[in-house]
Each structure stands twice: as C-alpha cells, then as structure tokens.
Amino acid sequence: MSAALKTNAPPLVKLRDLHVTFKTRDRTVHAVNGVDLDLAAGEVLCILGESGSGKSVTLRALMKLLPKFAQIKGGIEVNGRDVNAMSNSQLADFRGGEVAMIFQEPMTALDPVFTVGRQIAETVQRHEGVSRATADARALELLELVQIPSAKRRLAAYPHELSGGLRQRAMIAVALACRPKLLLADEPTTALDATVQIQVLLLLRELQEKLDMGVIFVTHDLGVAGEIADKVAVMYAGRVVEEGPVSGLMAGPLHPYAQGLLGATVHPGMRGKRLTTIPGAPPMLDVAPTTCAFSPRCEYAEAACTAGVPALVEASPGRFARCVRVPKGV
C-alpha cells in the first residue's frame, strides 16, 4: 500500500485489517475497526488522533499488550513474525528484545523499589544472558546514550529521586537496552513541560537515527508530529482516515477531520480570530461504524457518506484519504 511495499525490503510492521473489540458483561466497544499500516525499517510514523480514536489500542496490539477480554482479528506482523500466533515464552523474548515501548508516565512504568541502573541491567541480562558486571556496564553506557548528566551517580538513583525529564530518559534507556528494531512510544512527552518536551523529542529523533530504529509514535499533538514524524496516520473512530508524509499533511490535509483538527489547533497568529471547531463529539463505538464515522460532524456530508465505509484512496503518490470527496489520483 505505502512506499514500503513497493520496494522489495519487507516492512518492519505490517498491520492488515486489524480489528480490536472489547467485550465486557455490560458493554462492547469496537475500538479498532480495520487498520492497515506499514512501517519500513528506520521510519518514524506518528499516529495522530483524539482520545478514543483507537491509536493507543493499535499500538498495544503490536506488542500483544491488550487484556484477555479483547478480541483481536487481522494480521499483525512485526519483523516478519506473526505476533498473534506467539506463545507466552516467545512473547517474553519478543517484548523488550525486538520491540520496546515507552509510556506517558515514567513513574508508573518504572519499578519504584529498584534503582534505575538495576532495571536497565536486568533487561540486558534477561535478553542477552550476559554477566551482571557486563550488564551494569551496559546500563552506564545507556544512561550516557540518553544524555543523563552524571550518569554514574544516577545509576544508583531510585525513580522517585529523578525529575520528570530524567525519569523519561531513564525509561527510554530501559527500552533501548537491547537495541530494539522497533520502538513504540505512547505519548511519551505529553506529561512533560515545554522546555523538557523539546529536549526529549530531540533526543528520540537523534537516537532513532543513530540506532536506525523504526518508531511508531502515538500523539494527539500536531506540533509533536511535526517535529518527529516521517509520515502520519490520522485515526478517527478506530480507522485511519488519512495517511501520508508529514509535510503534505501539515501543508494541506485532505480529510475533513484532519482539516478540522489542524484548524482547531491554536497556533501563533490566530489572536483575535475565531477558532474553527469541529461540532459535536466522536461516536460511541458500541457498534462498529458502517458508514463514514465522521459524517455526522462533517460540513461536507452527502448521501454517499452514509452508503458505506469509504475506501482508502490514493489521492496522490503516497497520500491516502478515506473520504468520498477525495478523488483518486493518477
């Protein structure tokens, strides 16, 4: 579908028609309703969307981190392996080895009763079977890699002794301990202050280039996507509604939802002007949408929008949108 498939190199991540449904006694939620995504090795993809769009669920499905009552359908291939078919012991090797994840809240992702150095070294020992001394040496290297000042002293620090920015760096160090091919990042900079957020973003960009990792970065912040992404997938109600290189999306989004999102983001120079808003609220997803899920909020909605789920069409090379109004390019 995207550029990755046309070249011969197999994609690092291949999602095909992913569906995730959460079924509890009270309620059924169709969180993800058919997502296709490809990521080439060394590429950075941002999944952009608001709460409830299914972006984090998609990310977690890649590591099979969803709860047992989640029903997962569709193809999930990472590095040529079928994630859905993995046994628990295979998953244990896979997580942290080939694929690692960083989270929004480092305080809940790090173990409060072990030092930062121990947590990094533990990952190295578990996956590479090296001695404790070698692992400790690697932990120091990693703390230096993520640019933690006075790294040697910080090895012996507990998570609560570090500031928010340093904790986030320590979590990145744990994730990178075994040089994963794919890094999954779930809003890792959302909880940080502005001056710290930009430091962490620049660090992630630098590390991604240095280690040549594929990165899938989930965010709701267009500015963050602009700083880090090669390509962007905009999600709405569990489907990708627009996908393409970041520059094209920022310059002129194709899908009305992406246009609304860009218009509703406050940026400099909008003072005194009325902000454009998207009226209404996202659908509840108790049933999977059978039409364009955005049509009830869309100012361009027409009869064709409710006739079925619009197909993802290639509007111009590499740019896709799921909207009846976007014509297929040549």
Binding site: T195, G260, L261
Partner: protein
C-alpha cells in the same frame, strides 16, 4: 430593592485595577523526622506582585513547580498567604469591613474559579442543574430562582437545558463537564474568573470550542479573566497581558504582543523557542534549555533562572535582579535589562 444576586456595580472606575496583588508569599513547610519538625520550605510563591486590570485577560504561564497554580489558589483564597496584600476594586480582601475591606464571603462571590479536572470538581451525586444552582441558593436566592438561573446558564454555555439539566457528571464528556464548571463559576455573577488550566485536559477540537465559549462569555457577562496555562499558544490566543513565572517569582510581564514578539527574559525566550514548530521543514535542532526546572525547595541564590541560563555571570548569583521597566507596561526581572547592574550585557535590553 436590589436583588441579592445581581451583578454588583463597578466601584472604582475603569482606571482602578480589579485586583491588585502585592508581596504575595506562600511557603509550604516540609515536615519530617521523628519529631515532625520543619525540615525544609517549599518557596512556591515568593514575593509576587501584579495587577489585574478591569476587563482584561491576564495569562499566567510557566512550567510545573513555578507556582502558577498556587497563585491561583491564593487569588481565590483557597490557601492563606504567608504575606502580602490583595486589593479587590479598592477594598482589602479579608480585612475589616469598617476599615474599607471586603469579607471573604463577599469576595468569593465576586471571584470564581474553574479547575483543570472537570470531573473531580463536580459533585458526582448531584444533577448538574443542582450543582449550578447550589451557590445562588446558599447566597439567598429562592430554590425556584436558583434553578431558573442554572437553566439560563446551561443555555449560555451551549448545553440545551431540557436535555442536560437532570443529567449527572458521569453521563457527560470532558468538554461538556468543563462547560458545566464554567456555568457554575458564572452562577454568582462574578467579576473575576480564575481559570486554572481549563482546557489542558481536553482534546484539540473540544479545546477550540471551549476557548471560543470563554471569549463569548467574557463579552456577554463583562468578565475579567486570569487564565493559567502551560500552553503558550493558548495563552497567546486568549490573553491581553501575560505574566511569566519561574520558580515562584515573576520573570517577565507585559502586553501579549511585547512578550511574544520581543521577549526580554532569557527564560521567556527559551519557553517560546521550545514550542514545536508545526513545520517539518523548520525542525528544531538544539533544545533551547537543558535540564529540568530546579526544585523550589532550595531555589538558586540571586536570579533563580541562572542555573539554566546561557548568559549567567557572577552578578546573577550574587544579587537578585531588580524589576526593570522596558516601557509600555513591559517589565522584566533580569540583570541584562538593568543598566549598571554589573552584568557585561547590562542595559542591552533597555528600551
């Protein structure tokens, strides 16, 4: 006779600040040890001074731990300041009425607050019209009148009273709950509304709706806002004047144009440069600041920003900078802005 809950008439005229804050200090003792003695002091707000002009929106920005939320709670008198005076439209807050003061009860009717967490700030067991009607009833309106007012306010914040009035907070979305909080804040017809990160927890499309609503309500009810946020773009959009806080102190304050176009304090410049660029062709290559904000328990001596400042010199550690006036109400606390301060670039910023 005037209704007890009509908007109170303006007293001091337009030139008088609605709220004048002077020397505001709030220190939190950190207790510990066997005897529970005070081990250290968090200097959350340290000698903060500013005016809120009638009809304006004053934006307060800063990073976590800079004291902006403590300032909000002090303004609302949810916290008792250790020192400092607050004058509300010419009347000292919490002072003797005979001596020209205003009681806290009356002050809190004139000053209302909206919090960041829209769910935690609503009573989950009250239907929303009763939440909004609660304060007017306490302040002497009859039950019927209170409910009428609540329904009017629901309509004013864009929620149809007939379908929303009897609902409970858990039945609403985050954006709708924040509208309820705003309606409740307006129920006593206040003059000043303190908005503490009111849109930070909302999705972007909802954030824009709430910001538009705040702009409309300000015009409709003749309000004055203190708008606290860490989002520089939102503050630029909504504020007339901006106050930048760092570690409990005012770093810079001025009209929104001056702060965003001609930032004088190195910290303000770094904050503005930290904003993601929105243009993939113009990505940042170097972070404007390194490290996190220091702990407000033991703030650095002299200028509190000097540990992260690229222009720091000896004088910055030795002496606290004076507030320098750059003209047009633009003030900055930096040695580089004060001629003769002893900094090698002293006076380079002076207007």
């Amino acid at each position: 006779m005037m209704d007890a809950l009509d908007p109170t008439p303006d007293r001091g005229g337009p030139a008088q600040p609605l709220l004048a804050v002077k020397g505001l200090v709030k220190h939190f003792p950190l207790k510990g040890g066997l005897l529970g003695r005070t081990q250290a002091v968090v200097r959350a707000v340290d000698d903060v001074e500013f005016d809120v002009v009638k009809g304006e929106t004053l934006g307060i920005v800063g990073e976590s731990g800079c004291g902006k939320s403590t300032t909000a709670r002090l303004l609302m008198r949810l916290l008792e300041p250790n020192a400092g005076t607050m004058i509300f439209d010419g009347e000292a807050v919490g002072e003797n009425v005979q001596a020209g003061g205003i009681t806290l009860r009356e002050y809190r009717r004139q000053v209302q607050m909206v919090f960041q967490d829209s769910y935690a700030s609503l009573n989950p067991r009250l239907p929303i019209e009763e939440t909004i009607a609660f304060a007017p009833r306490i302040h002497g309106l009859s039950a019927d009148e209170s409910v009428t007012r609540a329904r009017e306010l629901l309509a004013a914040v864009g929620l149809a009273p007939e379908s929303f009035a009897r609902r409970y907070p858990h039945e609403l979305s985050g954006g709708q709950r924040q509208r309820i909080n705003i309606a409740r804040a307006l129920a006593l017809r206040p003059k000043l509304v303190i908005l503490d990160e009111p849109v930070s927890a909302l999705d972007k499309s909802v954030e824009a709706q709430v910001l538009n609503l705040l702009v409309d309500l300000k015009a409709e009810f003749g309000l004055t806002y203190v708008f606290i946020s860490h989002d520089l773009n939102v503050v630029q959009y909504i504020s007339d004047r901006v106050l930048v806080m760092y570690l409990g102190e005012v770093a810079e304050m001025g009209p929104v144009g001056a702060i965003y176009d001609r930032p004088a304090h190195p910290y303000t410049r770094a904050l503005l440069d930290s904003r993601p660029s929105m243009d993939p062709a113009k990505r940042r290559t170097k972070p404007p600041l390194t490290g996190d904000p220091p702990n407000p328990v033991n703030p650095p001596s002299g200028c509190r920003f000097r540990t992260r400042c690229g222009h720091a010199e000896e004088v910055c550690a030795a002496r606290k900078p004076l507030m320098a006036d750059l003209g047009g109400g633009h003030i900055v606390s930096c040695h580089m802005a004060t001629p003769g301060s002893g900094h090698s670039q002293a006076g380079s910023l002076a207007a």
